[in-house]
């Protein structure tokens, strides 16, 4: 059910985003965008709980500074999704590009497929503001670099794709939060600031809560996902560079 359809064919992003904001102001709860192709800044900085369905590939910086809406992308997304996002959820039924969830401080990003480089860089959390990124496919280099808080989950579900689950410099400079990987990351890929841990009871609870919602959103089988072993990656120190310039 949707309250409103906006046809974005040939519509420049400024005009499109104005129409979306106008619709929200007029009280529309669910908005379908059709014929999207590359329009930037969709749902950026929006505070309401609106549901925005995107048909087509949205442009850079989708859901940046977003603070409430649920955005459903029925295709791939490009770079910079969820930049400094504060609340709400983005569900992507395809791949996402580089710099996903940069500096994210709340809300959820649920991606079905692969993601690019620099995912979850400098995510952070405060009290009940805990951002969560879940990736169904594989990820590139710098996954969780300088991570300061929140939860990053990498599932590597595509068994037919022989490439490794994640690239180099995994968690380099990490000093908060937790990364969960379905499988094990080769030691040489880990940043010096990351330790590998077995999954414990608290972790199981976090995984269950996060992944049940993820499976619901993307119509995946929870038991199937949980049938493989997970590993956890946490920072060695909360302040890895504290003494860098001290001597």
């Amino acid at each position: 059910m949707c309250d409103m359809v906006i046809d974005a064919k040939g519509v420049y992003y400024k005009e499109l985003n104005k129409r979306i904001r106008d619709a929200i102001l007029r009280g529309k709860k669910t908005i379908d965008l059709i014929n999207i192709n590359g329009q930037r800044y969709i749902a950026d900085g929006i505070n309401s709980g609106t549901v925005i369905n995107i048909n087509g590939v949205p442009g850079q910086d989708l859901a940046a500074f977003m603070n409430g809406p649920t955005v459903i992308v029925n295709s791939n997304a490009q770079d910079g999704v969820g930049n400094t996002m504060n609340n709400g959820k983005v569900i992507i039924h395809g791949m996402a590009g580089d710099v996903l969830g940069y500096g994210m401080r709340g809300g959820k990003l649920h991606i079905l497929g692969d993601v690019g480089y620099r995912v979850g860089i400098h995510m952070k959390s405060y009290k009940d503001q805990v951002p969560v990124i879940i990736v169904g496919g594989k990820a590139g280099d710098f996954f969780g670099e300088y991570m300061a808080g929140g939860v990053l989950i990498l599932l590597n579900l595509n068994k037919d794709d022989p490439r490794p689950a994640v690239g180099d410099y995994f968690g380099t400079g990490m000093h908060g939060g937790a990364i969960y990987v379905r499988g094990v990351v080769d030691k040489h890929k880990l940043g010096a600031e990351v330790n590998i841990r077995e999954i414990e009871e608290d972790d199981e609870r976090i995984l269950e809560e996060c992944l049940k919602e993820y499976c619901d959103d993307l119509k995946l089988d929870y038991e199937d996902i949980m049938s493989a072993k997970f590993t956890k990656y946490i920072p060695v120190s909360r302040r890895p560079y504290g003494n860098l310039y001290a001597y």
């Binding site: 992003y13 192709n37 590359g38 930037r40 087509g56 590939v57 442009g59 850079q60 791939n76 490009q78 770079d79 791949m95 590009g97 580089d98 692969d114 690019g116 480089y117 590139g140 280099d141 710098f142 490439r163 690239g167 040489h188």
Partner: protein, 380 residues
């Protein structure tokens, strides 16, 4: 413009940019109107700022396909006269004409643009005198291009390959497409660029693509190693005159692939070489080869963020820097291969690709004409 004083590189350096690039090839060699590539690059208008755009096209001059097609820009008539005298002294010009251009709203001033279809004079003394050890026809053309760019004031060669050409200038992609009537040309391979120059000037000669012979390159990023690369290339007779870093990539490819006969894959391993820490983890011949390449071609390593598409008569190659500091997406449909900064630029002209992926950092994506295509066996 004319501010580019010959022999003095006033902007010895760099070009940080958020540029956009796109390209496609029909591997069967089917020729497609330039209208298609123009639509693709215009989808990414916001990656540029109106200070440069351009197109490279292959297969556009079937009537002159065995002649070198020179696209040349001049800032004034003196440069035109001097260059034409120089060209005619060294080449047989079979046909020459004004480049067909249109008046467009946003392009209020532009240089003189001409094209020439020419071949070297047989048994020319110039071939001997050109100062190149082992003279080949294409080396002679390179020598000519370097001479015009570095010695003739206010004249710059846009392109110099056979059955291909570069169309570029200052404007947004749509302006440049209109100005050159890009939709009138049909090619089996097209690339396009949308420029956002930040610390080198936006001028007609500095727009992408950069070309030499049939090499063309469009680039998003910044070649931090420009100084090292430029000095390395100077040892082989290449002169960097176009005030921007991307030029070195075109000359590097010419050196590595045409003159040193490296494969595209190996040339990519030179310009985006694996880190020493990764080479240390390799074994046997792979380790030996990559160690040797880094040692022999240290001056050819490109440092800094980049996504490039380089094209030539037989195909095109997309490549990222080693830690993927600029985006590149690849898609296929039938015999067509597409590469672009953003997926939307591909979907604009191919709404339902069969496969879409983001290549790994430093790993080239090579798309070539099918082997039975008459263009496919031509040397670069």
């Amino acid at each position: 413009m004319g501010f580019a004083a010959k022999g003095i590189n006033r902007y010895p350096g760099k070009d940080i940019s958020g540029c956009g690039l796109t390209g496609f090839i029909s591997r069967k060699g089917e020729r497609v109107s330039g209208e298609v590539i123009a639509r693709s690059i215009c989808n990414m208008n916001d990656r540029g700022n109106g200070l440069g755009a351009g197109f490279a096209a292959y297969g556009i001059y079937p009537d002159y396909k065995d002649l070198y097609a020179f696209h040349i820009m001049y800032d004034n008539n003196k440069a035109l006269k001097e260059t034409e005298e120089y060209i005619k002294k060294h080449l047989i010009v079979e046909h020459q004409e004004k480049m067909p251009t249109r008046h467009t709203k946003n392009i209020t001033s532009h240089p003189i643009v001409r094209r020439y279809f020419a071949r070297p004079k047989p048994d020319s003394e110039d071939l001997e005198l050109s100062g190149i050890d082992k003279v080949r026809e294409d080396d002679f053309i390179v020598h000519l291009v370097m001479h015009i760019n570095s010695m003739i004031d206010s004249a710059y060669v846009f392109s110099s390959g056979k059955d291909m050409g570069a169309f570029k200038g200052v404007g947004l992609p749509g302006d440049i497409a209109d100005f050159f009537s890009i939709e009138e040309y049909s090619g089996y391979l097209w690339t396009a660029h949308n420029r956002f120059p930040t610390n080198t000037p936006g001028w007609w000669g500095g727009a992408h693509p950069f070309t030499l012979l049939d090499w063309s390159i469009v680039h998003n990023g910044e070649i931090s190693s420009y100084g090292i690369n430029m000095r390395y290339l100077e040892m082989f007779g290449y002169k960097c005159t176009l005030l921007t870093d991307t030029e070195v990539v075109a000359y590097l490819l010419d050196l590595l692939i045409r003159r040193h006969r490296l494969s595209y894959k190996v040339a990519s391993m030179v310009i985006a070489a694996p880190f020493w820490k990764d080479i240390a983890r390799m074994n046997g011949n792979e380790k030996k080869m990559l160690t040797a390449l880094r040692m022999v071609y240290g001056g050819g390593l490109l440092n800094g963020p980049f996504a490039i598409i380089f094209a030539h008569t037989r195909g095109m190659v997309g490549l990222n820097d080693r830690i993927k500091l600029r985006p590149l997406i690849v898609a296929t449909k039938g015999d067509f291969v597409y590469m672009a900064s953003e997926e939307s630029a591909i979907r604009e002209i191919c709404p339902a690709p069969e496969r879409v992926w983001a290549p790994k950092a430093g790993e080239p994506v090579i798309a070539e004409l099918y082997k039975d295509n008459p263009h496919a066996d031509k040397s670069a």
